[in-house]
């Protein structure tokens, strides 16, 4: 019953301010109680990851063939060996850094363009009618199909790569923003209008905050897709990037390196999604549990 404990402790400290700070033990206990749910999630997360590694290890060590064949899938230890080799190689760090930079630019541009565009499309029917069909046609085109066009469109390869990650994240953000706009409660809009709010204020005070949760969903999905597009995009680079690293490993048929590249993309993708979620909490404190 942590709630009652805190309730009992609080009035006392409020009445007589403590002369001595609470002991470390008390603080730790209090911190533990406050963050119990979070800690539990982390602990379970670690256990599930460990279980995943263990299952992977067993499947590959015993080369299990049960319809799905693990005969030649690299084991976690082989991938770890690749990893230790890779981190001693400054090039690997460069691969990671360059990919992060490309994702950062591609994703940022996508957010800067897609969010306002989605808001405007949601508000003005004509803009929606003009842009929506084009967007719907372009949306299903996979990143890899864009490679030749991207090379021809942009003067440098770095721009072509950023362009492909931009495309990857652009559409999820746009679609989610539109969705958010369509769900804005018309009663709120009418209320604001009755109170004499002008278009700009309604936009700022009603539409934007109301669609923010969906915008952030779009950003999270968009970030994921940006990483998905990475291998396709970095085929152009021919030199650096974690997607390129994976691709090169494929062209030399080095399975542990392929797995290492996949995992690196996964981990980086997770990290960037966490960043977005963090930003979401900062921007929308009212949505904190």
């Amino acid at each position: 019953m942590p709630a009652t404990v805190i309730a009992e402790a609080d009035p006392a400290s409020a009445i007589t301010p403590p002369t001595t700070p609470p002991s470390f033990g008390t603080l730790a206990l209090r911190w533990y109680r406050l963050n119990r749910a979070g800690l539990r999630a982390i602990a379970i997360g670690i256990i599930s990851l460990a279980a995943f590694l263990l299952v992977w290890h067993m499947l590959t060590t015993y080369r299990v063939v049960f319809f799905v064949r693990f005969t030649n899938v690299p084991s976690p230890l082989a991938v770890y060996a690749s990893f230790t080799k890779a981190i001693h190689d400054p090039k690997f760090l460069l691969h990671v850094l360059l990919s992060c930079r490309r994702i950062f630019f591609g994703f940022s541009f996508a957010a800067i363009v897609a969010v306002p565009l989605g808001l405007i499309m949601g508000r003005f029917k004509l803009v929606h009618e003009i842009i929506f069909p084009v967007a719907e046609v372009l949306r299903p085109i996979p990143a890899i199909a864009w490679v030749p066009m991207a090379i021809m469109l942009w003067p440098t390869n770095e721009q072509s790569i950023v362009f492909i990650t931009f495309l990857g994240s652009f559409f999820p953000i746009l679609v989610n923003t539109l969705h958010g706009m369509s769900l804005v409660d018309p009663v709120l809009v009418r209320a604001a209008q009755c109170l004499g709010a002008r278009e700009r204020s309604i936009f700022r005070e009603v539409y934007f905050p109301a669609s923010l949760p969906h915008i952030f969903t779009g950003l999270t999905v968009g970030m994921g897709v940006a990483w998905v597009s990475l291998i396709a995009a970095e085929m152009i680079s021919g030199q650096y990037g974690i997607g390129y690293f994976t691709w090169e490993a494929y062209s030399l048929v080095q399975y542990p390196d392929i797995a290492l590249g996949m995992i690196a993309i996964g981990v980086l993708g997770l990290g960037s999604s966490l960043l977005i979620r963090g930003a979401g909490h900062l921007v929308m404190p009212w949505r904190l549990k």
Binding site: I144, M235, G238, Y250, S251
Partner: protein
């Protein structure tokens, strides 16, 4: 590489799933997956020709233990070797074909496969001098030879035969590892990048070093012959399949021999058909596979090719891409030998011969027979076919004559005077003087020769005029 990635693999897994589910576990059906590289013109006799002409079906065993067996052939096309290796490792393909470097990687990768190894069972085509791989630049660029590319951005598909050629060329000339800015790009990406001038040069395997110049935006400045290291494409098989169905593998080798024969019987028709099947221009196919072409199609496994493979292994080891691998132990010529024996052909005689089939016939312009095919030339007139001519001067003279008569000319071929490789005449540099017209791939070779005969270096159009005027400038 680009095309097959997600959709095809999904389609593949769905089909294989459906196949597994619908098939009874009896030995009634033998499924044979064959990974081809249709656009890599070198491998066509081992892949697309056999498929399109149904040659394998013709030779598959039908009696004895195969009396009740139904064969299920699954052909899959890729644009490079590594995906073939990947599918072979996964046992989706049992036979695959690829260039020298990917082949070694294939053999080495299979070393750690507990189910099966891979064995080299035949050769599709080879060039002992190393022609086929090449380096091209944009046609408007100021680069005319390898040394001009110092510090420039050069792309090559890593792990390909062309990569090996670049490394060998650098080694031969004592260039440091950072002489070029070497990056890895697949043929598709590299070609587009070259067209857009994003890179200074692109090194690639068959047929791109000829195809890109033919498509009009590139110029070849380095040919693999300058490395003098053989390049070749071969066929590998999974040993678990080959040991269980050796007769099927022998049948495949017979189909390969038959495809080879078909190609040589009518190279023009073959080039046209291959264009229809693969989309590679017939003029480009013909420069590789036609008579006196830059590739020799020959299924026998020549020791020189295996020695070259050993050299390639060292290159990969130096790059830290490979550990121990012995190409000699990886060769298994029993199937191809059996195929030769059963078709009553002499394997050892073919093994000892490194002769290509050459241009023959009568020069209809200069009215004399063709004596030296590597000094000769050919003109492909759209409706009249491919005509041989005894010398470069006669070839260019005939070209001018056809033009004057208003004929549509597809392409003209001549041979590099010193290296003997077949060239597109309109891409060559000609040393002209003293009644002589000598074509060259490289401007610098043409200049040196022109200085020797106190002549001049001319482009194609001027060379044609000079040839008509009797070789005077």
């Amino acid at each position: 590489m680009v095309r097959h990635l997600p959709t095809l693999s999904i389609a593949m897994s769905v089909t294989s799933l459906a196949l597994i589910l619908t098939q009874p576990a009896s030995a009634e059906t033998v499924t044979l997956g064959i990974g081809t590289q249709d656009t890599t013109s070198n491998t066509v006799t081992a892949g697309v020709v056999i498929r399109q002409l149904h040659l394998l079906e013709k030779y598959l065993p039908k009696d004895g233990k195969y009396a009740n067996v139904k064969f299920e052939l699954e052909w899959q096309n890729f644009t490079s070797g590594p995906p073939v290796t990947n599918a072979m490792m996964a046992n989706k393909l049992q036979i695959g074909m690829m260039g020298d470097y990917p082949l070694i990687v294939n053999g080495f990768t299979f070393d750690s496969n507990p189910e099966s190894k891979s064995r080299l069972i035949g050769v599709a085509a080879y060039s002992l001098a190393g022609s086929g791989n090449g380096i091209v630049v944009h046609k408007d660029s100021p680069y005319y030879e390898l040394a001009d590319l110092k510090g420039k951005l050069v792309s090559v598909p890593f792990g390909s035969a062309a990569h090996g050629m670049v490394l060998k060329a650098m080694q031969d000339r004592g260039y440091p590892a950072d002489f070029f800015q070497l990056v890895s790009q697949s043929p598709e990406v590299g070609s587009t990048n070259l067209q857009e001038k994003k890179i200074d040069a692109h090194a690639d395997f068959v047929p791109f070093a000829e195809l890109l110049p033919f498509r009009g935006f590139a110029r070849k400045i380095f040919d693999g012959v300058e490395t003098n290291l053989p390049t070749w494409h071969g066929i590998v098989v999974r040993t678990d399949f080959a040991e269980k169905y050796p007769e099927v593998v022998v049948a495949y080798m017979k189909a390969l021999i038959a495809a080879n024969q078909w190609l040589r019987d009518d190279p023009k028709l073959a080039a046209e058909k291959i264009q229809e099947w693969t989309g590679i221009n017939k003029e480009v196919v013909y420069i590789f596979l036609g008579p006196s072409g830059n590739m020799t199609t020959d299924p026998t496994i020549k020791p020189a090719l295996i020695d070259a493979a050993a050299t390639d292994v060292k290159v990969l080891q130096n790059l830290g891409r490979m550990k121990e691998f012995d190409p000699k132990k990886w060769v298994d010529d029993s199937y191809i030998r059996k195929a030769y024996a059963e078709m009553k052909l002499d394997y050892d005689a073919q093994l000892g011969s490194t002769k290509n089939y050459e241009i023959t016939g009568e020069d209809s312009f200069c009215k004399k027979p063709i004596a030296d095919p590597r000094k000769a030339g050919e003109v492909w007139v759209d409706d009249a076919g491919i005509m041989p001519f005894s010398s470069t001067a006669c070839t260019l003279g005939a070209y001018a004559d056809f033009k004057a008569k208003g004929k549509k000319i597809n392409v003209a071929y001549v041979f590099d005077t010193t290296r003997g490789i077949k060239l597109f005449a309109d891409q060559a540099f000609f040393a002209v003087g003293n009644g002589e017209v000598a074509p060259f791939l490289l401007k610098k070779d043409a200049e040196a020769y022109a200085a020797k005969i106190s002549g001049k270096v001319l482009g194609f159009d001027d060379a044609v005029k000079a040839a008509v005027g009797g070789g005077k400038t």
